[in-house]
């Protein structure tokens, strides 16, 4: 394969996973919700994209719809899960991912079942060379990554973001201070799921073929590694974590293709990820990037206050 295309391919995956890591960051990093079914919403987005694209919808509408469907699923799952104790959310989301995958696998009529489904490229009509298509994909994905990044920064550095962080620390205390945590948790799951849905749509659009085996719980695991490595409750952390992990992930495949090694670097990488997580939790439990204090303008008033040091 063309080396440039290989690099561009890596960039596309970095962007898609950055979206996933940022979406988990809204849920876990800021709100403290342990979503262990991230792949379900990614898959929902990918299949929504595939089905709507097959209907001939333009790609941007497919992406919007992927976000809506995944977001709606996020709201749906929040209904039972948020009323239960915290650890149940993990179980419910984890199970949800597997159930969704099994349904799609079994429903041949819906989206090809186990055989998968092909998807038209968003740039099909433009008659581009493979290299130009690769560039177009990089631009498409990263424009959305930047957009989501800015959106989340705007959403989080607000009194709203303060309530989310409060829920992460102590949801009962938030309730006592007049905010219904169920509402906020449901919204966080909706936003996170919608972003994961967009990532899924981009994934389907880029690969132009998806099948249920691409959506194993391993994807969720990778996203968690990215967030914990980068630093929860920091969007830069989520972004950089995704870039680093994807670099290793893609790099090991690259090694496999270009070098003859006595072992499969693809398998070794998971050992490395495991070690990395252990070392990180031991020596840098907050990840590469630390959570930044909230900036809403209120902090500036402290410095103006006469008796402040």
């Amino acid at each position: 394969m063309d080396l440039t295309v290989y690099l561009l391919d890596t960039l596309v995956f970095m962007g898609i996973f950055a979206l996933l890591a940022m979406s988990l960051n809204v849920e876990y990093g800021f709100t403290g919700l342990g979503n262990f079914g991230k792949v379900a919403f990614f898959m929902a987005g990918a299949y929504t994209y595939a089905i709507t694209a097959a209907l001939g919808w333009p790609f941007y509408l497919c992406l919007v719809f992927a976000a809506l469907v995944a977001g709606a699923l996020g709201a749906l799952i929040s209904l039972p899960a948020l009323r239960l104790r915290e650890d149940y959310l993990a179980i419910v989301t984890l199970t949800f991912g597997e159930i969704l995958r099994i349904i799609i696998k079994a429903e041949q009529g819906l989206a090809g079942g186990v055989w998968g489904i092909t998807i038209p490229s968003a740039f099909a009509g433009l008659d581009l060379t493979p290299r130009m298509t690769a560039w177009a994909n990089v631009v498409l994905v990263w424009v959305i990554v930047v957009g989501v990044f800015v959106f989340l920064q705007l959403l989080i550095n607000t009194p709203y973001g303060r309530v989310l962080r409060g829920i992460r620390e102590d949801d009962v205390a938030v309730q006592v201070l007049g905010k219904s945590f169920v509402l906020y948790k449901a919204q966080a799951l909706m936003v996170g799921s919608a972003i994961a849905g967009v990532a899924g749509g981009l994934f389907a659009q880029y690969l132009r073929f998806i099948d249920p085996y691409m959506f194993l719980p391993l994807v969720t695991f990778l996203v968690w590694v990215m967030l914990i490595l980068g630093g929860p409750a920091n969007h830069w952390g989520a972004l950089i974590g995704a870039v680093i992990v994807e670099f290793f992930n893609r790099g090991s495949r690259f090694l496999k293709d270009y070098l003859v090694l006595p072992f499969d670097p693809n398998n070794v990488q998971f050992i490395i990820f495991g070690l990395l997580i252990i070392l990180l939790l031991l020596y840098r439990p907050y990840g590469l990037f630390r959570e930044k204090p909230l900036r809403t303008g209120a902090e500036a008033e402290v410095l103006k206050w006469p008796s402040s040091p």
Binding site: G161, V163, R165, G166, Q175, K179, S180, L294, T296, A300
Partner: protein
Amino acid sequence: MAILAVEGISKSFGGLQVLQSASLEVAEGTITGLVGPNGSGKTTLLNTIYGLIKPDEGTVIFRGQKISGLAPYRIYDAGLAFSFQLPRLFFQLTVLDNLLLAARNQVGTSFSGALFRRRRWRRQEAELARKALQILELLGLVPLALHATGELSGGQRKLVEIGRALMSDPVMILLDEPAAGVNPVLGRKIYQKLRALRDQGLTFLIIEHKLEMLLDFADRIYMMDAGQVVLSGTPKEVIENPVFYATYVGETKNVTFPG
């Protein structure tokens, strides 16, 4: 007229009957004290009033509205505020953020408000920050305003807990041992502030073991014992009641009535 009426609250945990038809009334614009031996059910009663514990029986009426059965955030909406006996702060957030989170009617705490009414909430944030700083001034916490509450000492945490309750502009505040773990001078200062707020019309129901505070500042005192409200009256009446000595103070009658 009673602003808060607690009527026949019973609660048991497993086989343990913690509250037995406990009733009390708090008159508007008063500081009402609640005393009683450790484990007599004071905190449980306060938590029940605020919807944190569901009573087995009984009702709570606040300003003529039945609030028992409502979630705590609805009770907050009705105009009550609450502070925990053991502080439950947001430990990774700053002292300032802990107070701001308690503020009422914030434009920026809703999803759409945060995104689409930025100018409004930024102005409101500045106003609320100044209000929070006034409270922190009283509590002596201004130098720590931008520190995470996880870095504070036990007593300082207690102060932030009280600060949050003051921040929400309530009609009435439930305080669970506000002076516990706080140094005497500051404890007194806090009570003086509460009295000033009472004079402005606020109502307080305060659990307190520091008798001298209640004797100085309370308008009325209730005493609980073994899950029941057994005694009530003005501080002077209560302190002259032998039951009060027998169950709460002990043998010595040497508690001075200050002032």
